[in-house]
Amino acid sequence: MSVDAAVRVAIGAFTLEAELQVGDGEMLAVLGPNGAGKTTLLRALAGLLPIDGGHICVGESVVDDPVAHVFIPPEHRSIGVVFQDYLLFAHMSARDNVAFGLREHGLGRSEARARADALIEAVGLTDRSTARPRALSGGQAQRVALARALATEPRLLLLDEPLAALDVQTRADTRRQMREILGRFQGARILVTHDPVDALALADRILILEHGAVVQVGTPDEITTRPRSQYVADLVGVNLLRGRATGEGNRVQVGDMLLTTADRHVGNVVVIIPPTAVVLHPHRPDGSARNAWPGTVAGLEHLGTRRRVRVQVSDGVAVVAEVTPAAVSELGLVDGGPVWLAVKATELEVFPI
């Protein structure tokens, strides 16, 4: 593994305890809400915050290990960071920002500038290379920050909310460009974000951090189909329902809803319903789908070429269905309008808790 870390950091009453591994060329997304410890983790990896316990290894070298009294300062770690807000140096041109790390690594001025020019070209900003950071747009500044972090060819690249400061349209463009630029980077990558779309779109694996602890690690597919907490389920948009199996037949009571499951369970359970498994009907459906409830449309959302329809079934219970735009118009779905939803028993995943 290119990066192997077990990090324990205590800041006041907050403790971060996380383990992670990232391979060369792999991108791990660290996903979590504000205050989960994402930035703390990133600062620890970068060497801006010494860890209190555990170890951090980058490549073959141990860069932080309090027990062994090893602490390599940030300038001697082979780690590049794209900071939130980019933190471009305001008194330098875009090119000199990119050349900064090269100069600090001992390159002469002209060689550093030549290399910086090549990097600036690679991110498509040759015509902006003499501009000061404040003259750059958000997307341009982000690309300069990316070029600056990659200039020293680090083993590990850390990206702290690299898209958070951008507006919606720029985000989509910049996300695509970032994929492209990062595709040429050979080292390990860690993307810190609170936005699941960034994580799903860019990462090979996702680590979900909540309250300073890792709640789940897996590929985007694993995480979206098998989220292990409400937070993760909400984040990746899978229906996660808490209920009680009555033991009578294969029934689970969730609020006012009674679900029929494929197998028999007893006690408290969580039921996971993939949004794609939820079928919408204009009227009560006939046939085999025994899980059918009337509800009210409580929200329509775009997700790429799909539409996510939130249906309020009863007080406190809502189910998200993912359907095609055609289905939305065929069913005449409008916010607040009536709709029936149906799920096959075999599509429900039930986990006892």
């Binding site: 205050g35 970068a46 060497g47 300038e75 001697h76 780690i79 960071v81 900071f83 900064f100 790390g101």
Partner: protein, 276 residues
Amino acid sequence: MGVPTRTEAPARRNTPGRESAPTSVIVLAALGALFFLIPLAGLLWRAPWSAVWTTLSSHDAQTALRLSLVTSLASTGIAIVLGVPLAWVQARVAYPGRRLVRAVTILPMVLPPVVGGIALLLAFGRRGLVGQPLDRVGVHLPFHVLGAIAAETFVAMPFLVLTVEAAFRSADRRYEDAARTLGASRLSVFRRITLPTIRPALIAGAVLCWARALGEFGATITFAGNAAGKTQTLPLFVYIKLEEGNTDAAIMLSLVLLAVSLVVLVSLRDRWLSVL
């Protein structure tokens, strides 16, 4: 951890020019402004313009002027070399006694300069705490040009330290973090990131310090004495001329000091002094 959200600059509520002032306030404000203006006008009105050349070209005046420039620039240099690191430590390092050190470094701003001069004399005079050992190695500050420089530095350095310290305190440290991750050593970060960031404050502080050093009188005459060509700076020279009854020369040389101060203030006004 938490995502520091970028805070927008709040809308300025105290925009000048929006308010109509009560008459009584305007009268008092005008009196206040006149109090500054009238002495300047008096100086200009009484200036013996016909004697400009003879006064300014006199050997003694030129010596005093040259000495003033040399000592004030030297003390500004010393203030930068010692004051910037001091400001950095005060802004960035938490140590016991920091408040005390801050109070002591600001003290010369509020202390009567004569008192400062006496204190310097007791410390660096021939029989002083530090003066005695210095004397043995052949360094004599009192009544020497070095003494004038020391007196000016003592009085003027606080202006630089205060200004620069505030800038160090308010500089966004995350830029320094960014530079560290790019391979810059702490010293390199200071030189290439921190210093350029605080440059406006450093320039403002240095100029204020220089202007204060140029006008220094009390501490200099007490500690360094009034030796022509050695410690007799322009303010001392003006005072002596006045004592001798040579009012014309005193006025002319006062105008020189006034002109220098005005040029400095006006040239700095918009670009640098806003950081204060």
